[in-house]
């Protein structure tokens, strides 16, 4: 019973995502002002030749700080899992 419900859920989800996917256009993204601005000005403003690195560390540096917090929390949790216990 649970298996049939799971299969139905999977099929419905794939159909839903597939309907969304057939409406997207591949290779022709809409001209976004943010991306155009970043490509035009990243060399001048941040001095980085790599535009992805400029976005990651200059334009969205606060976002990368949050990512570092998530990474730190996950590493802390993993470390707590591996600690020695007194009982057992």
């Amino acid at each position: 019973m649970r298996r049939q419900i799971s299969i139905i859920v999977v099929v419905l989800m794939v159909l839903m995502l597939g309907v969304i996917a057939t409406g997207l256009s591949f290779g022709h993204p809409p001209d976004h002002p943010m991306d155009r601005y970043v490509i035009m000005n990243s060399q001048l403003e941040s001095g980085a030749n790599n535009v992805v690195a400029a976005v990651l560390f200059d334009y969205r540096g606060l976002d990368t700080l949050g990512e570092a917090v998530v990474l730190f929390t996950a590493a802390l949790g993993t470390m707590l899992m591996f600690r020695k216990r007194e009982e057992e």
Binding site: V10, L24, P29, H32, D35, V52
Partner: protein, 114 residues
């Protein structure tokens, strides 16, 4: 329809991941399904920013021409790192489960520990 083949492949990959999470009973295999879904999300982001005939957004010795969108690629880098960290945390949880119950099958760990 023919130009959406990359998106349809990504949807099928995500479907494989969802089916793995819902149908498998082994916790390690469910974590593998989650990793597959993460991979499909990364592929979707990169595919969304692809521009036809575009080059990588690096200005060093770059030939003339349009560049693919850089912001979604930055998001993909963030997603890869966070996915790695959460997968490590989930595998540590699976290790604790195995230490307590002697099994990682969800049939066996559903009962409460005496």
């Amino acid at each position: 329809m023919i130009e959406q083949i990359p998106y349809i492949a990504i949807v099928l990959l995500a479907g494989i991941g969802i089916a793995t999470i819902l149908l498998k009973k082994n916790v390690i295999k469910m974590i593998m399904g989650l990793a597959i879904i993460e991979g499909s999300v990364n592929l979707f982001l990169v595919t969304l920013g692809y521009r036809e005939g575009g080059i990588a957004p690096i200005f060093t010795d770059a030939p003339a021409g349009v560049m693919v969108l850089p912001t979604v690629q930055a998001m993909t880098v963030t997603n890869i790192v966070i996915g790695f960290a959460t997968t490590a945390l989930l595998l540590a949880f699976a290790m604790i489960l195995y230490r307590y119950y002697g099994s990682v099958e969800t049939n066996h760990i559903r009962r409460l520990r005496e």
